[in-house]
Symmetry: C3
Subunit: 152 residues, 3 copies
Amino acid sequence: MFHHILQAQSKYAKCIDDDRLEDWPSFFTDDCLYRVTTADNEKHGLAASVMFADSRAALIDRITALREANIYERHSYRHILSAPVVLSEAAHEVVSETSFLLVRIMRDGVTDLFLSGRYQDKYCVENDRLLLSERIVVCDSSRIDTLLAIPV
Amino acid sequence: MFHHILQAQSKYAKCIDDDRLEDWPSFFTDDCLYRVTTADNEKHGLAASVMFADSRAALIDRITALREANIYERHSYRHILSAPVVLSEAAHEVVSETSFLLVRIMRDGVTDLFLSGRYQDKYCVENDRLLLSERIVVCDSSRIDTLLAIPV
Amino acid sequence: MFHHILQAQSKYAKCIDDDRLEDWPSFFTDDCLYRVTTADNEKHGLAASVMFADSRAALIDRITALREANIYERHSYRHILSAPVVLSEAAHEVVSETSFLLVRIMRDGVTDLFLSGRYQDKYCVENDRLLLSERIVVCDSSRIDTLLAIPV
């Protein structure tokens, strides 16, 4: 199971880094939870989220809105992920946590370390596929809100 | 064995990044060696270490001292690790090397690439658990001494 | 197979980071393709490459030239790799893609995020060894040409 999770994480990252955002919702179950928050908020039990979606349909809407808005100067991302820590493993659900680093590459070529944090995931097995029923993206830094346009 | 090492490495990193420093010594054997040094020192065979401990008890002392001192402005870390290279594997000992990147997040949210290097590890199997009997942290840069307060 | 690829990738990175460049060509087949290009060039189908070699012999020549030239101030690298995405897997060939981050450490200790991108690889199995028959290094940023002296 461990190496299936490892593989699923890399595929997820590749989807975003390849700018195939329309495929991004397909990594989630129909009834999913996707939330982006900060370590400070998480620590103090604050519900405040930078991004929030509670279904795959909402994720699809988000991407549609993002493509239509198109207000951000085009830039690309590169995810670098550590191996996940598997926290629990049952027949149909795996809970894991994965450290990530997000590098941002601006159009003029300037590359910077944009964001770091951890994915808190619940993966479930549906028809031999691993899907995210929950992904909480906990960003290490609190200075992220205005910058995040595309999914992490 | 490879994926057990991979998993152990991620758990170690998570322990530090979660600020559960009191659990950190539990990743080591009683008679362990933990040393932080630089690539230059290592290359020239210099014994000089930025940190040195030769037992789990010494690691525990270090954390106690660190918590009591508390002189550093609070910041957090994020480890990003490549997969280990397994250099040798025997019944009870695995020698491996792992590249790491350490990102530091200051209280004001500023994130920087703090440290890079490699873990030179000896893992041994005790009661079905993988424990570090030796971890030499070789930092790529020589400019590290005054900055390192918490374990790597 | 997945974890063999994972292991091979780490060994490749270690070879360069340890400055054992003379061993670098041994990761490739005799008739290999090694190319370094940018995401922009790749997207627009441009053949322009920052580096190009179509045999192991050419890779060996390149290292010899690099060692003799020796015009660059000495610095070192640290590769950090995500787990590969396996795109296809046949009896003797595995096609995969791996995200990488390259950190550069100058002699004075200054560490910077130097390069990010993806390896587009074809691995083939020869005598129980995994060798690269093709590695296309696609750099995310377009500002790389004058800086790249050593292999990625």
